[in-house]
């Protein structure tokens, strides 16, 4: 995607002058299409700095891979990608979304990773009616109380990933469990998802240890778990927190004595940093590296060839975002104006994803398989299909 230089419009220059003598950004260009069908403008609002940088990069890489596989054209139109760094800062979310929609005049906005940013983005997308594809942020609200026709999600709701683990533990007779999680939005929702799959079927939650986000001092929690001696411990941590918790768990000698389980984020893409401490940890997620679907094999090969490193679940979610946009645009021959038809096409789409085929729920959240995985020498290997076509209850969505 070559960024082409654009010329300056009189109207825009005056607007800029107005923004303030000191700002003096008069040279900001307008966007003009020169000849032929205008390019499809896709804006990404993803973290390209801060703790979630890696997720932002994985999603963007995989989405560009999906566009490349479509021959660089969607519904006959070339693609222009506009990347904006969300910095995972919610106060900036609404403004940066305005920038994508108001100034860059994009047809699709793809993002974010952080749930707080997702809330800000969704508010503007609902007001402006712009097509919004969420490739990661799992806040239940996005496909719950704040669901909207123009908002789709290709990742998961926080409720989903932990839910199947309840059944897995009960099938193995592990009834007494302790929950330990970061006590913020995603952590609470994931714990609730697990409880909904565990308690109604006879499971007993002995204790819930909530740790303030983003603290990473786990010694006191590990000591408490050791004294309670539960059958298993369900945890929700991601990124740096996941690396540290797994290493502390092993260092405290609990590895092998008490079973450690959780949603896939505990070991997804961080096993290299966790080292031996991650071996044998079982998690449930809508993806695993060793899934033998043809789509997965080709995707992982293409990703490694293009970017020189293994793909992860965040890449799969970005790849599917690209496929979803492609499905929508091809259904309307690239006419982004025909929004209703495009939405109908995307709602009905069956995505042939590396994680296996999945369809869109009425609240626009993936109805997808969840796999039990186990870490074997650094790879999240598939153990079995934990739950088939699990759909988010989408409480509060009136769409």
């Amino acid at each position: 995607m070559k960024t082409k230089f654009d010329n300056i419009s009189r109207r825009r220059t005056l607007g800029m002058l107005g923004v303030g003598v000191v700002a003096a950004a008069t040279a900001l260009p307008a966007r003009f299409a020169i000849g032929g069908k205008a390019k499809v403008r896709i804006g990404t609002l993803l973290p390209y700095s801060g703790t979630y940088t890696r997720l932002g990069q994985s999603i963007t890489n995989a989405m560009e891979l999906a566009f490349a596989q479509a021959g660089g054209k969607l519904g006959g139109r070339a693609i222009e990608l506009i990347k904006i760094d969300s910095e995972a800062k919610p106060p900036k979310a609404a403004d940066l979304t305005n920038k994508l929609i108001g100034r860059e005049k994009v047809d699709f906005i793809v993002g974010p990773v952080h749930s707080g940013v997702a809330m800000g983005m969704a508010k503007i997308a609902r007001e402006e009616g712009t097509m919004m594809i969420v490739p990661n942020a799992g806040a239940n609200q996005v496909t719950g109380p704040f669901c909207a026709p123009n908002i789709f999600r290709t990742s998961f709701s926080n409720w989903q990933p932990g839910h199947p683990m309840g059944k897995v533990l009960l099938d193995e007779g592990k009834k007494n469990v302790v929950l330990c999680y970061w006590a913020y939005g995603a952590g609470k929702q994931s714990a609730q998802g697990f409880k909904d799959g565990f308690v109604p079927h006879g499971g007993n939650v002995i204790k819930e240890i909530g740790i303030p986000f983003p603290k990473v001092e786990f010694q006191s929690a590990l000591t408490e778990i050791a004294s309670i001696k539960p059958d298993a411990v369900y945890v929700f941590f991601a990124g740096g927190g996941a690396v540290k918790f797994v290493k502390d768990w092993a260092a405290a000698g609990l590895k092998g004595k008490i079973e450690l389980v959780g949603p896939g984020f505990l070991t997804e893409g961080v096993t290299k940093a966790q080292g031996a401490a991650a071996e044998g940890i079982r998690t449930t997620l809508h993806y695993a590296d060793t899934l033998d679907y043809p789509a997965n094999v080709t995707f992982r090969a293409a990703y490694r060839k293009a970017y020189g490193k293994g793909a992860d679940v965040y890449g799969v979610q970005g790849f599917d975002a690209g496929q979803l946009i492609r499905a929508g645009l091809e259904a309307v021959g690239g006419d982004t104006g025909a929004k209703a038809d495009m939405i109908k096409a995307m709602e009905g789409a069956s995505i042939d994803s590396p994680r296996g085929k999945w369809t869109m729920s009425s609240a626009h959240n993936p109805v997808q398989n969840f796999y039990l995985r186990e870490v074997k020498n650094g790879v999240n290997e598939v153990v079995k299909l934990a739950m088939e076509n699990l759909s988010d209850p989408a409480k509060g969505c009136t769409m």
């Binding site: 700095s49 703790t51 740790i211 603290k215 001092e217 006191s220 004294s227 690396v243 260092a251 008490i258």
Partner: protein
């Protein structure tokens, strides 16, 4: 809650406190003794951790990595002092806040460009990777005990140097009254450069030592920045003993809060600081 549980939790609290003292030690020097509000303290901690990560990958051993890392942080600290901080000694705190805020932005971006965005881990050196069993299910990582010992040694030596050596005396004199110290023949220009670069190195070494028990990821600096200031301020500015007691107090409050009062765990530390400052407006051992 039997007594063993309480004992172990207390040990956890003290160990976390000692780690906090190690992390805040650089700031105790730069902010506590020299009175420079250095918001970039977290960035030096992060740079130290990333240096440990890279050199451990190269040499395979954490200790050689630290030995390689120390000169780098010394040069970095000296450079930052000579280029930037030198202009700020006569300026008020606010200009230090603004300049070091700018440094945070630059260091964060440089880190991303050099090391990228992936969270990394640094393996614990084999000799210290064992664990001591203390109950049938729980055992205590040897490396954390090693860290606590290092903290105690560091605290002792810092107090010794600052309290009982000529260099320490000059540093304290310079902090108390820079102009007077200069007129008494103390070469404050070079002394400030030395103290600042030692402060930066302490922050870097803290990052290197903590790397095996922490995760090395972009933005790790901001996580420890505020808690480091809290440690220095609770103890009382300019007092090494105060920072030590402050750190251990925070460690205990944090752990007990986590275990016994989980709902207010996140605000417990800030509540402690507010309470201490309202009871003794210049910290536990601070000079007014």
């Amino acid at each position: 809650m039997d007594w063993l549980f309480l004992l172990i939790q207390t040990l956890n609290g003290i160990q976390y406190g000692l780690l906090l003292f190690l992390i805040a030690s650089g700031l105790t020097l730069v902010f506590g003794i020299m009175g420079i509000i250095n918001l970039a303290h977290g960035s030096f901690y992060m740079i130290g951790a990333y240096l440990a990560f890279s050199f451990t990958q190269m040499t395979g051993n954490l200790f050689t990595a630290i030995l390689l890392g120390i000169p780098v942080t010394l040069v970095l600290g000296y450079g930052v002092e000579r280029v930037f901080m030198i202009h700020l000694y006569k300026r008020d705190h606010l200009h230090q806040v603004l300049l070091t805020f700018g440094l945070i932005l630059i260091f964060n971006e440089l880190q991303l460009m050099i090391w990228g965005g992936d969270p990394n881990g640094v393996p614990i050196p084999d000799v210290l990777s064992g664990s001591l069993p203390i109950s049938d299910t729980l055992s205590y990582p040897v490396y954390r005990i090693f860290l606590s010992v290092v903290c105690l040694v560091l605290a002792g030596s810092m107090a010794l140097v600052i309290r009982h050596t000529r260099v320490g005396m000059r540093v304290r004199a310079g902090a108390a009254n820079r102009a007077m110290a200069e007129s008494l023949g103390v070469n404050m220009r070079s002394l400030s450069a030395i103290v600042f670069s030692v402060g930066v190195t302490l922050a870097g070494v803290a990052g290197m030592l903590a790397a095996p028990v922490e995760t090395v990821y972009p933005g790790m600096g901001e996580q420890i920045l505020i808690i480091s200031f809290v440690v220095v301020v609770i103890g009382g500015i300019g007092s090494i003993k105060g920072a030590f007691v402050g750190a251990v107090a925070i460690g205990l409050v944090d752990v007990y809060g986590q275990v016994y009062l989980p709902e207010i765990a996140s605000v417990a530390v800030y509540g402690l600081m507010a309470a201490v400052l309202l009871w003794r407006p210049s910290g536990l051992f601070g000079r007014t």
